[in-house]
């Protein structure tokens, strides 16, 4: 039982570390700028990509999007971004995901 608990804790820690590491190195504010400039034109209501906001996914889902999915519905959409650009966008989406730590405001 103790071993099971230890393994569970290790798994949780590893997952948490993976989450953080995947989005490390990005500039969230720059990511917001790039997202609005380059992603939003196709990702608003009525446009080709449909409405997309950071709140549409969890942090884990956003990380998976950048590590695994890589915009597979239209891979060429990411071609014009540098690796750093993608890190920045990933960081912005991660920081504002539905389960992110960004608090609600009042007023």
């Amino acid at each position: 039982m103790k071993l099971f608990k230890l393994l569970t804790v290790l798994l949780v820690v590893t997952c948490a570390a993976t989450l953080v590491m995947a989005a490390e190195g990005g500039n969230s504010r720059k990511g917001k700028y790039l997202f609005k400039k380059s992603c939003k034109p196709c990702h608003v209501s009525g446009a080709e990509g449909g409405e997309l906001t950071p709140l549409k996914k969890t942090q884990k889902q956003w990380d998976r999007f950048f590590t695994d999915d890589k915009h597979k519905s239209k891979p060429e959409a990411l071609e014009n971004f540098s690796d750093q650009d993608l890190k920045d966008i990933n960081q912005f989406l991660f920081d504002h995901a539905v389960d992110s730590d960004q608090p609600e405001t009042c007023g």
Binding site: V12, A16, S28, R29, K30, Y33, K36, K37, K40, V44, S45, V98, D99, D101, Q102, P103, E104, T105, C106, G107
Partner: protein
Amino acid sequence: MSRLIDKKLSRRRFIGTSTCALAGVGLASQGRVLRALATSEEPLSGKLGDNRDVFTACGMCVNKCGVIARVRDGRIYKLDPNPEYLKSRGMLCARGNAGLNQVYDPDRLKYPLIRVGERGEGKWRRASWEEALDLVAKKMNEIAEKHTRAGVMFASTEGTFQEHFFLQMAECFGSPNTVRHPTLCLSSNIQGFSATFGTYPSADILNSDYIIMAGANRSEALLTPDSIDQLKGDGGRRKLVYLDPRFTKTAAKADEWYPIKPGTDMAFVLAMIHVIIGEGLYAKDFVATTTVGFDELAAHVQQYSPEWAEQHCQIAAADIRRVAREFAKAAPKALFYPGRRSSFADDDVQLRRAMAIVNAIVGSWDTEGGLVPNSVIPLSKHDYLAPWYDDVPERIDKDSAVFLSEKDGSWTAMRDRILAADPYAIKGMMVYKQNLVMSVPNRAKTLKMMKQMDFICTIDICMSDTAWLSDVVLPEATYLERQDPLESLSGVVPVVAFRQPCVEAMFESKPCLWIMQNLAKRLGSEIAETFDFTMDEHIHHQVSKNPQILKDLKKKGVYYLKVEPSYGLTQGKRLKTKSGKIELYSENYASKGLDPMPVFRPHAEVPPGKFRLLVGRNAYFTHGTTANNAFLHELMPENSLWLNPQAAQKLGLRNGQPVKVKSAVGEGVLRLEVTDKIRPDCVYMAHGFGVLSKGQSLIYGRGACDAALIEDALEPISGNVAMHQTFVDVSPA
């Protein structure tokens, strides 16, 4: 269930009563005000025969209640509540009624002003908008050149429906250093509830059978619809249990009042959880299906018995046990009210977590009479692309709190970093509506921070203390003179609010959008392009997906989708927590080194001979903004210091005498009010007095300023200020 629609007043019935009651007051006071304004040599005559009833929304506090402005001969004659406006239940309070004085106040700002004497000396010269805005743009650019664009900070607060234009200016100018009111307000509360439920919910007070309020003085700190619903109840079976070291007007309306020892509310709540779990009174199915961490919680609260809590909070164990049982029995139509105020102490997030948890374990979530996640009516947002500047650093207060809002910041943490120029210098301040000199604890530090600024510009409707200490002051049109964007107000029953000009803007006052657009033109085309729209275009864009909103607003002054609450909308859905469920135990907190469940740690005791300074509201004033309103000033011309008779006798002080109150950071002189309405170890004073500005002629030299006395203790999880950790000496003045 009480039907909200039944709460609406018929317009005929309301006008029949309220007009008669207040017409005399309005006429007499307006005559005096207009005479005073006439001394400024401005044309005051309205258009004869211009008689209209105009739908708008109140701007006197945070609530935005529905208003009908009665315009007679081109002047606002009286403000009435809008009976269609569900959120305010057909009510307009004293502050709302006094709103017309914002327009006809002789003290209001009339023209752009440029300082000519020393800061705070009160010497100004009238300037044209062109000259004033040229100067503001020049100073902003100079500071940006020298210190990057982060060298200009932007302070603002909500309520005008135009604050987002000011924030747009901050973002487009390129400064990350915006600072708003939440860390003087709800940020710890929001954090505590959000960590548990993934959001900060509303309370379905109207349909609740059992309500516990801790320091939420809802009968005076008005919040619509809660304040009204709290008094109405349903069938008389409602019970209100109230914890507060002061006997407020909410205490007067409560079934039970406990003068709890400040700083120990968490002990009371943890003991309630102890009883509810220990006696098996919790909602077992709800807990099993909707929450995580119950086993950990059950083990954790074993230590917190009512007998243990009694030692800390000075409420009898038998009462705690009985209240816990009654609360669980009434559940799920039972509420431990979330409260709506700034932090009590530096563990406030964990207190709010405990409050959230006690609601959760009895199933008071997304159900009639319980906590209800807010609904909102969507409006299309104005989107823009802010320019990117490579050399701008991160927020100056980055990492000063565990959960720091990137838009709101942390006021006191930010001020400390600015004072230390750590990690860089901020030398310019743009201020919109926020009266930070009066609002941020430890006024001496705020004054020091302002002193080291190269430039300060304030936009406001009156000469607040912050405006008084600025270099350029820009007059905004009041809420009764402006067309504002539509505002979607979330709640159990959400509405869209509407604000349109009742009269033309007086003197040279202008709306925020106009000010931002004309400043943007001076800051470059890239910024100006983001403001290239009219207010009319903006509003039509907001309703582009649902034009009916605007039609209803024009017809009845409010838009709503439904008149009854909807419950259970989150059932079976993922909540915005890490686990997707209600988190009694927070893995997220644990991973950040925080207590995953609330742990009670006693606060410092009041030192012998001293008193704990309490803050709190009354129904007349909104923070530091309305004490100079002539109508409200008559209700409370100055503040006083509440002191218990036992303590007064011990100090040899008598009712009405001036006393000096001194803390570690400041002092003030005000009149003593000896009263049984406060614990012997505490003192209390109303906010909004002791001003520095001679531009607030009614209250200058009256009373004392609480911000001068309160120390700036920080709640480290949310970045909020801790308001109840200041001890003061009281002596004859």
